[in-house]
């Protein structure tokens, strides 16, 4: 079974979020980039588990520039067999998805896996877009997946519960919490990653359909009103009369 895992970079979860150039650009100063946690913890690790159980290969792909090789090497250290970087700035979800779809169409993967969303743009767009571009079924927000032969059985989140579905491969899957547990790369993995293939390929010509014009930060909360723990009637009164939420 050939699996392609799509990874994206995202700022470390503790990064200070700030903007430069008249609030039009994310301020990368001092920001440590990591593999987007959904892509790493759930998509990549589950892909590796499936390979360990059924044989095959796990390739990772990202759309990015040379500095992103650092996160790709980490994915290789965790256990991916090879990696591809499409050499372009990741401008919007459509651009990224079409680059990956164009690559995947030529390489006959059984499974294309993504995280459920990135923690910086939270769009949940790339997986569905790849699926449509490739004419494949897309199972979104899977929290469990098993593969037998060419059939995958998955649990996915629905409003107010979970559902179990079955799909014939090839398919595109977006992965959410529950799929797998985080793996920390060991020294052997880190050493091996240095010699695994990292192919850099040129981007194809794709339109950019959306653009971020500017960013704003939320207003800081005014001071927190402290309530006497013995007087919950007071809190209820404030929630009703002042905050008007009950």
């Amino acid at each position: 079974m050939k699996i392609l895992v799509c990874i994206s970079k995202s700022p470390d979860t503790t990064s200070k979020i700030a903007f430069t150039d008249g609030n039009s650009k994310f301020d990368e100063n001092g920001v440590q980039y990591i593999i987007n946690p959904y892509d790493e913890w759930y998509a990549l690790v589950r892909a590796l588990e499936l390979k360990e159980a059924n044989g095959g290969s796990v390739s990772v792909i990202t759309v990015g520039t040379a500095p992103d090789d650092a996160i790709i090497r980490k994915a290789l250290a965790i256990g991916a067999d090879d990696a591809t970087r499409i050499d372009a700035e990741a401008t919007d979800a459509y651009f990224v998805a079409m680059q990956i779809a164009n690559y995947a169409k030529e390489n006959a993967f059984d499974l294309v896996m993504t995280g459920k969303e990135t923690i910086n743009y939270n769009g949940s767009q790339v997986g569905g877009m790849i699926a449509e571009a490739m004419g494949l079924p897309f199972v979104s927000l899977a929290s469990k997946m098993d593969v037998a032969g060419s059939t995958a059985t998955l649990e996915t989140e629905i409003v107010g519960g979970i559902q179990t579905v079955e799909v014939e491969l090839p398919a595109v899957i977006s992965c959410a919490k529950g799929m797998a547990e985080q793996r920390i790369p060991n020294m052997r993995g880190i050493m091996a990653a240095r010699t695994k293939p990292l192919n850099v390929v040129a981007a194809s010509s794709v339109d950019v359909l959306t653009s971020f014009e500017s960013y704003t930060l939320p207003d800081a909360k005014t001071t927190c009103k402290m309530i006497d723990p013995e007087n919950m009637d007071e809190l209820v009164k404030l929630l009703h009369q002042e905050a008007k939420v009950i």
């Binding site: 699926a131 449509e132 079955e166």
Partner: protein, 312 residues
């Protein structure tokens, strides 16, 4: 020109669908709703109360299969000449809207939280730690509205319902089983959420949280460590790597408020924090704070709510 709104009517029509119709109406064009399945016409006609001029329904599509729903919406865009499609950014939309974007080659804004200002639309980014103002460069546009971002506005009366054949094709995903716990309120749509963390010391102590939630008609949630050690199910985990929520009221007991947790809840309109540690970072993000032991404060709060309900 018109705006098409996709509404899910599988298990009735949820509030977030009426929010999407209200939002579409505010864009200033004629609003046509599109749905699939076998819901009663009288239910579908309620879309008119929020501004739809008619509802198109493809009764041949029996599930929420994203490939089929995408084809039906694309056919409806062609039939109506709509230049904009609006979704509520729920679980179905997250699978359908990206497909539709590729099919129509229409720019997609997901997680919109406000009506357009000039040619940009405000969205949540960095897990709620910032907002982005996004522009769509294509002629056709898709906007997926974050639930609970605007209030539904009832301005009109029931509208007509027309059958529509959207050539949805075959479903490639086979539905085997659906599990829905009885009586639980789905977290992403809840208007009030009661949440607790490691401060509760063990899963056996969640009874008081559930009781408070029941009195408030609220959903229950938890912090990441609590889901990771298995005290509570994963789908209750709110935060950067769990569910992001924006209820009207969020009550957190025994959660310190790490930056990753705040990222999932800082869209809440009002935050109440109960904690024994005066230095807990969550107090800085809260509107109301109670410095005290959750084991004493939460039951007292539940009693106070009961008293309030009895007198109102």
């Amino acid at each position: 020109m018109s705006t098409l709104v996709y509404i899910n009517s599988r298990d009735g029509i949820a509030k977030n669908a009426y929010e999407a119709i209200t939002y579409a109406k505010k864009l200033g064009q004629e609003v046509i709703a599109i749905t699939t399945g076998d819901a009663d016409d009288s239910l579908l006609a309620t879309a008119g109360e929020y501004g739809a001029s008619k509802v198109l329904v493809d009764k041949s599509i029996a599930t929420d299969d994203a490939q089929q729903v995408t084809r039906v919406i694309a056919s409806a865009v062609e039939a109506t000449g709509a230049n904009t499609v609006v979704f509520s950014n729920d679980l179905v939309a997250k699978a359908v809207a990206p497909r539709l974007s590729v099919r129509l080659k229409a720019g997609l804004i997901s997680g919109a939280i406000a009506i357009p200002e000039g040619d940009t639309i405000k969205v949540n980014v960095f897990s709620g730690k910032a907002f982005g103002n996004v522009k769509i460069n294509s002629d056709k546009k898709i906007i997926s509205l974050l639930p609970n971002s605007i209030q539904p506005e009832q301005t009109g009366s029931a509208c007509s319902v027309e059958e529509f054949n959207g050539n949805g094709g075959e479903a490639k995903i086979k539905l085997l089983e659906v599990k829905k716990p009885e009586g639980e309120i789905p977290l992403p749509e809840a208007e009030i959420v009661v949440s607790a963390g490691r401060g509760l010391k063990g899963p056996e102590n969640w009874g008081m949280i559930e009781e408070l939630a029941k009195e408030l008609g609220a959903a229950t949630a938890c912090s990441r460590p609590v889901a990771d050690i298995g005290w509570r199910p994963h789908h209750e985990h709110v935060g950067q790597t769990g569910v992001a929520i924006r209820p009207n009221l969020y009550i957190a007991a025994g959660i310190s408020g790490a930056i990753q947790h705040l990222a999932g809840v800082n869209g809440s309109k009002v935050i109440v924090v109960v904690n024994t540690d005066a230095e807990a970072p969550f107090f800085k993000a809260a509107d109301y704070g109670v410095l005290g032991d959750a084991f004493e404060v939460i039951p007292k709060l539940t009693e106070a709510i009961k008293k309030f309900k009895a007198s109102n």
